[in-house]
Amino acid sequence: MTRQSFTSTATYIVAEDLSLAVNAAVTLEKPLLLKGEPGTGKTRLAEELAASLNAPLLRWQIKSTTKAQQGLYEYDAVSRLRDSQLGSDKVHDISNYIKPGKLWQAFTAEQRPVLLIDEIDKADIEFPNDLLHELDQMEFHVYETGEQIVAQQRPIVIITSNNEKELPDAFLRRCFFHYIKFPDADTLRDIVQVHYPDIQKQLLSTALEVFFDVRQMPNVKKKPSTSELIDWLKLLLAEKITPQQLQETKQKGGLMPLFGALLKNEQDVQLVEKLAFMARRRDGS
């Protein structure tokens, strides 16, 4: 068989173990469950994978109210009731009121698609259990019409979780699991280079120092992640902040320019201010 392997692209940097994980999941046709700090690119991965395989991406965004059934199909009974009162002919064929969900679409797609089940932990705890059979056998039954929907080819399933709920064991057993670590300084540099190829080296290294300083501060409630770093750099570039200016605030202490992009919590802002104040006082005395 031909093996398409997924590696870093011009726009997306993927760590080696993650690329192995993706390739294993694609080859062995198992769903891949991704966890990791918010902002480490879990969702991006599915998009990039679809792009690199030239496959369609079906994204199923899970919310606290999402039901497993909605991924299979929905029977719109209310509009059928309305149609029956209006005397429409459509009402005699129940299949007019069956709306295929994302799984159905994925199963019947012409080309092997990438199905992204995003933030599965947001849903009710029973949600993953309800999908066990469908993800395992890649088929399901439509009770209203008696149809059996069987996958033409097994879609590549990427599932992301932010760890808000624990997932049931039976479900986990059917998935491959990968935890995306927060990237180290070198990988982050690569990632930034991909997004902003012409950023000055000096600005980048100073910015990364500031960024890792903030991440290492104890008691920071919401640690800035990769996506916040990239937003912040974008602002730094747009505002034409020079490396010297950045270095200056870093040494003198105080909030970094455009801190709003990095710190999303007012208590964190206060904390950084306080630490800077203490550093200044210590240096002054």
Binding site: L20, N23, L28, A77, I125, R173, F177
Partner: protein
């Protein structure tokens, strides 16, 4: 070959099953990785481990498996006390410079086995024998550029090269200490119960849908009430030895505040006596008598004690035992009164479970709590919540 690996994982407490083993064999057969130990490590982790909290155990199992069978036997035959961190030798840069690598891994293993045969006694320090804190290449907590580690919690010198030996996911193990987020996740389990336990109400959407399905014949649908009805009363131990654990307690408090609408909290010191208080700076003026506490809050409140339970045994067992005031009745009497009223109660102890047996007072309170004392870690909190829920289900039947 993989069977051994599989058994090794299970031995180290990685909850992996036959399904995963078959997947791994399948992956090997498809030659996803070939003759690359590091890639195999990543692949095996991908397939066998389902939770990042298990990564550390997996790393330990891998370390054991890949270091070769002979070494495992040797390592496990070393008495554990030898490896206890008895001393920590501080090496100067000069010392480090003096140390040179002793050749390759095979060389080391060979020498290791020879030394082990020579060695008869526990050994610490020094530069030849296997032990702790020394500069010999064998043993733990020491420094040698090409050392072999035995049963070591973390590297002081951070020189080991193997991926699994880095154990980067160490702090993700569930027995580690809490952070706010993990507490919230743990507490959320308490909320789930509340949802299923509460009364039922009419589900309008479902009723419309069901009625439409039946072509207009009314079909009423019911669903459990969704708001969190869980009521929680937390009593915090403050001051003294609890100062070391103040961070963990703050985290727990912050998480509980977010999670429960009906949350009440009071403070006590060391053991509960006739009164508790809400503000520490006015603890002597604004007290609430413990009897009032019992009368004010119903039996449906879940009572959580948070304290290290580390005190003199007389503080629990005798009248006048309190270190702060004269108490007419011993702490044990007050504890039992509280527990008689609040049948759903647990004690969370920020001390490490391994240290509990060092303090007689912990044993006593553990006994008074009927065994419902748990360490203040993610795993402990999960156990505690399970105990709170189990208990309430049982008494719920007998009371009503």
């Amino acid at each position: 070959m993989l069977i051994e690996f599989f058994l090794c994982l299970r031995k180290h407490g990685v909850p992996t099953s036959l399904t995963e083993l078959l997947d791994l064999v399948n992956a090997m057969e498809r030659q996803l990785v070939f003759a690359d130990v590091e890639a195999f490590y990543h692949l095996a982790r991908l397939i066998m481990v389902k939770d990042e909290t298990q990564y550390d155990r997996f790393d330990r199992a891998c370390a054991e498996y890949f270091e070769g069978v002979e070494q495992i036997d040797i390592a496990s035959s070393i008495p554990a006390e030898w490896l206890e961190r008895s001393m920590q030798k501080h090496l100067s840069d000069e010392d480090k410079a003096k140390l040179k690598a002793l050749g390759g891994l095979d060389e080391l293993l060979k020498t290791f086995r020879e030394r082990l045969q020579e060695q008869q006694k526990r050994h610490a320090g020094g530069n030849k024998w296997i032990g702790t804190g020394g500069t010999s290449p064998f043993g733990a907590y020491g420094y040698h550029p090409e050392g072999i580690r035995i049963g070591q919690d973390g590297s002081n010198a951070r020189r080991a090269v193997k991926v699994w030996d880095k154990r980067e996911f160490k702090d993700l193990d569930t027995d580690e200490e809490l952070n706010n987020r993990s507490i919230q996740l743990a507490l959320r389990r308490l909320r789930k119960f509340a949802r299923t336990g509460a009364l039922e109400e009419l589900d309008l959407d479902e009723t419309i849908r069901a009625t439409s399905k039946k072509a207009g014949l009314l079909d009423l649908q019911w669903q459990p009430e969704r708001h969190n009805a869980m009521k929680v009363l937390i009593l915090f131990d403050v001051g003294g030895s609890m100062d070391d654990h103040i961070f963990a307690c703050q985290q727990l408090f912050a998480a509980a505040r977010n999670e429960f609408k009906h949350l009440e909290f009071y403070y006590f010191h060391n053991c509960v006596y006739e009164s508790v208080w809400k503000q520490n700076n006015r603890r002597h003026t604004e007290k609430l008598s413990t009897l009032d506490l019992i009368h004010r809050f119903g039996r449906d409140y879940k009572l959580i004690f948070v304290g290290d339970a580390t005190m003199g045994p007389y503080e629990i067992a005798y009248p006048g035992g309190s270190v702060e005031h004269w108490n007419e009745e011993p702490g044990e009497v007050w504890m039992r009164r509280l527990l008689n009223h609040f049948t759903n109660a647990v004690w969370l102890n920020p001390q490490l479970r391994e240290h509990w047996h060092w303090h007689h007072s912990i044993d006593m309170l553990h006994e008074i709590m009927g065994g419902r004392m748990y360490p203040l870690t993610v795993a402990g909190l999960t156990e505690a919540i399970a105990a709170l829920l189990k208990k309430s289900a049982a008494t719920g039947l007998s009371v009503e």
